[in-house]
């Protein structure tokens, strides 16, 4: 009687933030990777404004190292919802000389994305960018505001953040500045999967168990694709795996799993003893403050 489940409360909070930003900013954009968090974000945006269309475009920062299943899912969702898709390409940034490709076996385009992202925000004049980041993912993110200020260089200053009280958000910025907005801040990985199950969201098939050629590097299972630059000392083999997170295909690891449905995945996550980023993201492993440093520069 007059009670809400934790998922209802989180959904209401996220929709409140999405509407608030749509009302207060001129040119918002939803950052969309095709991963589970951004698919939840897209669904929440649809629910916030329906029956009217989502009043902002979505943007994919494309490293060029994609899983085909993810791109296929992205294009289907965008077509279904009738939203405009902006693709900002890391390859274009490389070709234009804005960034220089890393070299070596562990080369990744992860860090290069920041320049591509900031250039695209400036080019399109976006003043608010929604992301699907969650505070439970990583300890620097646990300290970030839901509506997080970025200066004219796109930088985050963790020591000088705007206090956020009640459900009130300070949306005031000056020209050239923008905000990053994280409506899923208070969701955990388990909440996201509960929501995927309840709202019957379709995710890229790689989130569920499938057979794939993989090899081990730094304790992670990487897909044997050309971008991963598998060495001769890194033998490939077939395994039954699924992805817990979806990022750049060259540095996102798979986990051995037989979970083929949302129910099975939820059971698996509830029992796991390792965080999702710890298990699957090489990009977070370079140092204790890897995420904080990238975020200060303007990363997602």
């Amino acid at each position: 009687m007059l009670t809400l489940s934790q998922l209802d409360v989180l959904e209401a909070e996220a929709i409140h933030i999405i509407r608030e930003v749509a009302a207060e900013f001129e040119r918002p954009v939803l950052l969309f990777s095709g991963g589970k968090d951004s698919i939840v974000m897209l669904r929440l945006a649809e629910r916030a404004f329906r029956p009217a269309p989502i009043p902002f475009p979505v943007m994919h920062v494309d490293t060029g190292h994609n899983f085909p299943e993810v791109i296929e899912c992205r294009d289907r969702l965008v077509a279904e919802l009738g939203v405009r898709l902006v693709v900002a390409s890391v390859q274009d940034s490389i070709d234009a000389g804005r960034v220089v490709e890393e070299t070596g076996r562990r080369a990744s385009r992860n860090r290069l994305q920041t320049t591509t992202l900031l250039d695209a925000i400036e080019e399109h004049g976006f003043d608010a960018a929604f992301g699907g980041a969650r505070r439970d993912e990583e300890k620097a993110r646990a300290k970030e505001r839901m509506v997080s200020f970025r200066d004219e260089f796109g930088q985050w200053d963790p020591k000088n953040q705007r206090p956020e009280l009640w459900n009130l958000f300070n949306t005031r910025i000056r020209r050239g500045e923008h905000v990053r907005v994280f409506p899923l801040s208070n969701w955990t990985e388990l909440d996201v999967w509960d929501y995927v199950r309840r709202a019957e969201l379709e995710l890229p098939s790689i989130y569920y168990a499938h057979t794939r050629r993989v090899f081990e590097r730094d304790g992670m299972l990487l897909a044997d694709i050309s971008h991963a630059r598998r060495g001769e000392d890194e033998p490939a083999y077939e395994a039954t795996v699924r992805y817990r997170t979806v990022g750049d295909a060259s540095c996102t690891g798979a986990v051995e799993s037989a979970a083929a449905t949302p129910d099975a995945v939820i059971e698996e996550i509830a029992a796991t003893r390792i965080t999702e980023r710890g298990q699957t993201r090489a990009d977070d492993r370079t140092s204790e403050a890897a995420m904080e440093d990238r975020k200060k520069e303007g990363y997602f």
Binding site: L2, T3, L4, S5, Q6, D8, V9, L10, E11, A12, E13, I15, H16, R19, E20, A22, A23, L44, R47, A48, F49, R50, P51, A52, R135, E138, K139, A140, R141, A142, K143, P158, K159, Q161, R162, P163, E164, L165, W166, N167, L168, N170, R172, I173, R174, S185, N186, T188, D191, A199, T272, R273, I274, T275, G278, Q279, E288, A289, E292, D293
Partner: protein, 411 residues
């Protein structure tokens, strides 16, 4: 499963991090890779034990300097409830951080060191939790192991705190004797304190009744966004009361009466809506309604005022609030320009003494002010409704959030 948000107040010395670490650890919410990272950092700093405080210190400066700078949010769940902890640091910017963490909290835990008893900071924590109207206050009397689990020590602290809290108009108040280090009365009742007959801390967190803490009486619906399709949907988050299709409502500021035709929730039409649901209302007739307006009941309206008396907490470093300060006030979905007409007094949060000779409020100071807004705000007393009684002040020039305000009766 429902959700409880709680804030923890205290400094590292009170064992706050140990307590949070234990709640997370015993509910299996600390993962192996997180623990390994903490162990590495602890060892690198030459600490003999694994410092669980590092779990909530997310920023480089925090780890390097061994201090906590900012509110950290942590998550754990038991089969009964999901919990969000707002962990507010004890040292730097204390008031600002605690006010922020407490603003959304259903419950606040104040840690008291059993050896030291009620300190100035315990009073300050209790005062701030009460000022922010956190509905449930738990005083966890920690380090009972260091006073031989002595009931007399516990009772003395309870009596002293109760006397102090009587002057505060404090919320629901509970005392629990614990040892965070050894786990006494944290997850399970402790055999070391058979004289204590209350619940363990986790049992209390799992069972405390929060559903009736919301205002389900006075209908308040600040209009946030107008959805335009074949008709118009007025979107927003319910701030109070219960709305149902067919209800008569009044639109403010026009005063026009109308009827709720339909309420859309996230997944489709709903038969009733209450806080904190985000919904869209379809109303009968053709009224001009925009963002910043408010829907209420004809016989139960908020006050429409341009002059507002409020208690404010000043949060801006390097500048002060004085009579004549010009600021933006953001209240529900309405933003107005406002001027500080008067600073009635500054409050000493340690002694609760009012300094009526004060002419300014500095960082982390609290005082009573009168504001004059350039347009009406639709307000309730903060004590009656946190959503329609709270506001923030924003500096139009620097765009900083400079203060939080709680509206006083008749203000």
């Amino acid at each position: 499963m429902d959700m409880l948000r709680f804030a923890t107040a205290g400094s590292v010395d009170d064992g706050k991090s140990t307590l949070i670490g234990r709640l997370l650890f015993d509910s299996k919410s600390i993962f192996e890779d997180q623990l390994a990272a903490v162990e590495r950092t602890s060892a690198a700093r030459g600490e003999e034990f694994t410092n669980l405080a590092l779990l909530t210190d997310g920023l480089r400066a925090e780890r390097e300097q061994g201090i906590t700078i900012d509110v950290a949010y942590r998550y754990f769940a038991t089969p009964r409830r999901k919990f969000i902890i707002a962990d507010t640091p004890g040292h730097i910017q204390y008031t600002r951080n605690m006010v922020t963490g407490a603003s959304t909290a259903d419950l606040a835990i104040i840690l008291v060191d059993a050896r030291k008893g009620i300190l100035e900071q315990s009073r300050r924590h209790a005062f701030l939790a009460t000022l922010l109207r956190v509905p449930h206050l738990v005083v966890a009397i920690n380090k009972m192991d260091l006073v031989d689990y002595d009931e007399a020590v516990y009772e003395r602290i309870v009596a002293e705190f109760t006397e102090f809290a009587a002057g505060l108009d404090a919320a629901d108040l509970t005392f629990i004797p614990i040892s965070a280090l050894h786990g006494d009365n944290v997850i399970e009742r402790s055999p070391n304190m058979p004289w204590y007959e209350g619940p363990s801390l986790l049992h209390l967190l799992e069972h405390v009744h929060i559903a009736s803490d919301r205002n389900l009486v006075d209908v308040r619906f600040p209009v946030q966004y107008v959805i335009r399709d074949e008709g118009r949907g007025y979107a927003g988050q319910i701030a109070g009361g219960v709305l149902r299709p067919g209800d008569e409502v009044v639109h403010l500021p026009s005063g026009s009466a109308t009827t709720v035709e339909r309420i859309d929730g996230p997944a489709g039409p709903v038969e009733e809506a209450f806080a904190p649901m985000s919904v869209a209302l379809r109303l009968a007739g053709d009224i001009d309604i925009s963002r910043g307006d408010l829907i209420a009941r004809p016989g139960d309206r908020p006050r429409a005022v341009q002059d507002v008396d409020a208690t404010v907490c000043w949060m801006a470093p390097g500048r002060t609030l004085t009579a004549g300060s010009k600021l933006l006030v953001k209240h529900t979905t309405r933003t107005a320009s406002a001027e500080v007409a008067d600073l009635a007094y500054r409050l000493d949060v340690n002694t609760l003494r009012r300094d009526e000779t004060a002419t300014e409020l500095g960082l982390n100071e609290i005082g009573r002010v009168s504001l004059r807004a350039d347009r009406p705000l639709f307000v309730d007393d903060y004590a009656r409704n946190r959503r329609t009684g709270g506001f923030i002040l924003v500096d139009a020039e620097t765009a900083e959030t400079v203060a939080a305000g709680m509206i006083s009766p008749n203000g």
